[in-house]
């Protein structure tokens, strides 16, 4: 619909999946009450998981999943050529996601363990930005559909979108959640990027940092706090490396 005389353009969107659980793609079909409006605001020209139409004529490419094989690298580069705007959708695409955990092992041994004598082709996990240039990253495991909707709106309006600068803690407080540290559990809330509305601490698991670090996180103090509260190095490390989002941090 037109508003203030601005004719909204309807961007042609392609959705492409690489190594991941397809949970982020699934989110595009979630938040059902606005799905029809969402699908009217954009023109889906390629979305293998829900549609048999396929096309190279897209402006926006949403990339889900990490890159773990040669054919994926080739396919991604091809998509990059067509897309005006390439968006990494979800933590796998943004950081490698949980797939990155395999990078800690020798890949031959990994293959041996799972496939025995018939190893399958695989590369160390890479985030999308490690293979092609990325215009926008939407983190989250899975992504938050409400946030995706807002970002798409900003794309349509052609105005910048700013991710929240605050950490998850803030949203936890706004939900009246009792701090999970108070309950004796580890939580990355103080250093993880907010915007997810803190479902995990509220649900009882503590934050695992799926959205990567908040703007200017105080990692040093966080490590001190975790240590003071008796959490072991191994546990903290496991948590920080879980989604690959804290990979670049010292």
């Amino acid at each position: 619909m037109k508003y203030l005389g601005i004719e909204p353009k309807r961007p042609k969107v392609g959705v492409f999946d690489f190594t991941g659980c397809e949970g982020c793609e699934l989110q595009l079909a979630n938040k059902e009450e606005t799905v029809p409006a969402f699908l009217q605001a954009i023109e889906v020209v390629d979305f293998r998981e829900i549609s048999s139409t396929s096309s190279d004529d897209y402006e926006v490419a949403l990339i889900e999943g990490a890159i773990t094989r040669d054919d994926e690298i080739r396919r991604l580069k091809e998509i990059r050529k067509h897309a005006k705007l390439l968006v990494a959708l979800g933590s796998c695409a943004c950081f490698g996601g949980v797939n990155r955990l395999k990078n800690g092992y020798d890949l031959d041994a990994v293959n041996q363990e799972v496939y025995g004598t018939e190893p399958k082709e695989t590369l160390p996990t890479q985030a999308v930005k490690e293979v092609v240039s990325v215009d926008l990253e939407i983190p989250g495991c899975p992504v938050d559909k409400a946030e995706v909707e807002r970002i798409v709106q900003h794309l349509i309006w052609d105005v910048p979108y700013q991710f929240p600068a605050y950490p998850v803690c803030f949203e936890c407080k706004q939900r009246y959640t009792t701090c999970v540290f108070e309950l004796g559990q580890l939580c990355l809330g103080p250093i993880a990027r907010g915007g997810c509305h803190a479902p995990c601490p509220a649900g009882g698991s503590g934050c695992w940092g799926c959205r990567g670090p908040a703007a200017d996180p105080n990692l040093e103090e966080f490590l001190q706090i975790a240590k003071d509260r008796g959490f072991k190095k191994r546990e903290i490390k496991e948590r920080l490396s879980f989604y690959g989002g804290f990979e670049d941090m010292p």
């Binding site: 508003y3 203030l4 005389g5 601005i6 900003h154 309006w157 105005v159 910048p160």
Partner: protein, 302 residues
């Protein structure tokens, strides 16, 4: 049993009956109402700035709306956000106001896409103003850098309209490049008015630029001042007004005769959201216009 508490309906209370008047600091509680205003004209100034002429739709509200040079309004594009913008037109001009807006983010970005006829919301005017009354009978320096001409245009027009009230009037304006000059179609007019000294300078000229090249302080050096009978208004980025004010101070102009307009993040304009605090002074209530002495005394102001 009748219920224990009678609900209190704020809109029915007597205070609410008063008309909307932000300037008189009324006790009115309906402060979240906006004036629905129509964009009557859009005038592109540069690649980044456009001048918007806005008319309040409701006739009675329009009649009542008045402001002083230096004050700002909160402009709301429903759904996108609300931003502070200085009024760029003359206070004596009734009927519509002019806002010069640079494309910078969400709201300004959307405003730049709207078309004539679109309706936006206005609240205000808010904030302090330049003390034009006090300046009468003095020499006037009006100095702007870059987008600073937007807030300065109101006092410029005000001074021009009341030219006889003032002694010498100097308007100095500088930008980085010639294509960034705002309101260049008006210089001719301002310059033709005898007795107004308008000088424009750019930091980097181009092929077509014939005027002076350099910093705004270069223009200042050429002006002979009578410091104790001069008032100065300086609008522009902090680095610029810091240099200019320091220069003028050395020339002997008292710090409380120089006025600047500060910019801070704002969400309400009413001293509630705290986002514009400098130290702990609300820019929206005690500013945006401050004299230089106050600015010097505000910790973290520049």
């Amino acid at each position: 049993m009748t219920s224990l508490f009678r609900p209190y309906y704020i809109i029915q209370e007597s205070e609410m009956a008063q008309p909307l008047d932000y300037n008189r600091r009324s006790r009115l509680k309906h402060v979240d109402q906006v004036f629905r205003s129509e964009i009557i004209n859009i005038i592109p100034l540069t690649d980044m700035e456009k001048l918007f002429q806005l008319r309040i739709l409701d006739g009675a509200e329009r009649e009542r709306f008045s402001f002083l040079p230096g004050q700002f309004v909160m402009v709301e594009v429903p759904g996108y956000g609300e931003i502070p913008i200085s009024i760029s037109s003359s206070p004596s001009h009734k009927g519509y106001i002019e806002l010069c807006i640079r494309r910078a983010g969400v709201v300004t970005g959307i405003l730049h896409k709207t078309r004539r006829g679109a309706v936006v919301g206005l609240r205000g005017p808010f904030g302090t103003h330049f003390p034009i009354e006090r300046m009468r009978g003095n020499h006037i320096l009006l100095i702007a850098g870059g987008l600073g001409l937007a807030p300065l245009r109101a006092p410029i027009l005000n001074v021009i309209e009341n030219r006889t009230d003032f002694h010498d009037v100097h308007i100095l304006y500088g930008t980085r490049q010639p294509d960034m000059l705002l309101f260049n179609y008006q210089y001719e007019e301002w310059n033709r008015i005898s007795d107004i000294n308008l000088k424009v300078i750019v930091e980097q000229g181009d092929e077509s630029w014939t005027g002076p090249v350099g910093l705004i302080t270069d223009l200042l050096k050429k002006i002979r001042l009578e410091p104790l009978e001069t008032y100065a208004i300086i609008c522009g980025p902090p680095v610029m007004f810091k240099f200019v004010c320091a220069h003028l101070q050395r020339e002997g102009i008292p710090m409380d005769r120089m006025f600047v307009s500060l910019e801070r993040r704002m969400h309400c304009g009413m001293g509630k959201c705290c986002r514009c605090n400098i130290g702990s002074t609300y820019t929206c209530l005690s500013g945006p216009v401050f004299d230089y002495w106050t600015v010097m005394n505000l910790k973290e102001a520049i």
